[in-house]
């Protein structure tokens, strides 16, 4: 594939983490499609956005560290940003759903 062969200490954990993260993401999106109502649909994609993104970013750190020959940590920036912003948008979206439901049926 490329001229550079990855060493085994990076290739095996990174491959396993990538496969695990991809499976988590696809299960989360399948749950997003299959769950019955909005409040149940909030839950499954968070599995992909937290654990799936974490797995892929750790695999990416392993691979780029092995390629560069020194520890490369600037994927931590994306991890930090995603971990900080996902709950904010989830809370705002949930409050919006509650407000919209209350607006539509005032006594319900």
């Amino acid at each position: 594939m490329t001229a550079f062969d990855l060493p085994a200490w990076a290739a095996i954990p990174a491959g396993l983490l990538l496969m695990f993260g991809g499976l988590l993401v696809v299960i989360g999106s399948f749950g997003l499609l299959r769950m019955p109502n909005f409040y149940a649909r909030m839950h499954p994609p968070t599995m992909g956005t937290t654990l799936g993104t974490g797995c892929v970013l750790i695999a990416s750190m392993l691979v780029s560290s092995a390629v560069a020959g020194r520890p490369v940590l600037h994927e931590l920036l994306i991890t930090l940003f995603v971990v900080m912003t996902t709950p904010v948008s989830a809370i705002t979206l949930m409050a919006a759903a509650i407000a919209r439901t209350a607006r539509r049926a005032p006594d319900g």
């Binding site: 991809g22 993401v25 999106s29 997003l32 909005f38 992909g48 892929v56 948008s89 919209r100």
Partner: protein
């Protein structure tokens, strides 16, 4: 060794691509507006993950800045949409 790793990258990319497709179905079909915003949130996160997998496949560091920008602007978009659904305006006077 490298065969296993390239298989893993291809498998993960196909999985996340299918996840993007499922999120797009929910984005088009979602009964209410907040369903669509939630599907958009999952959609841009999946796009960022596909970009990171391209970075792993090509071993090029240029993709990380693009992934960071996608995360930033996707959050801004989701937050603005949710805020609009909550208050009917994005920035309160």
């Amino acid at each position: 060794m490298n065969a296993f790793f390239s298989f893993a990258v291809t498998f993960a990319t196909l999985c996340v691509g299918m996840a993007m497709l499922l999120a797009a179905v929910r984005l088009f079909r979602g009964p209410s507006a907040q369903d669509r915003v939630l599907a958009f949130d999952a959609f841009y996160i999946n796009g960022m993950l596909i970009l990171l997998m391209q970075a792993i496949r090509t071993r090029s560091p240029a993709y990380f800045d693009i992934a960071l920008l996608i995360a930033l602007f996707g959050f801004v978009g989701t937050f603005a949409l949710a805020r609009f659904l909550l208050r009917r305006e994005v920035i309160e006077p």
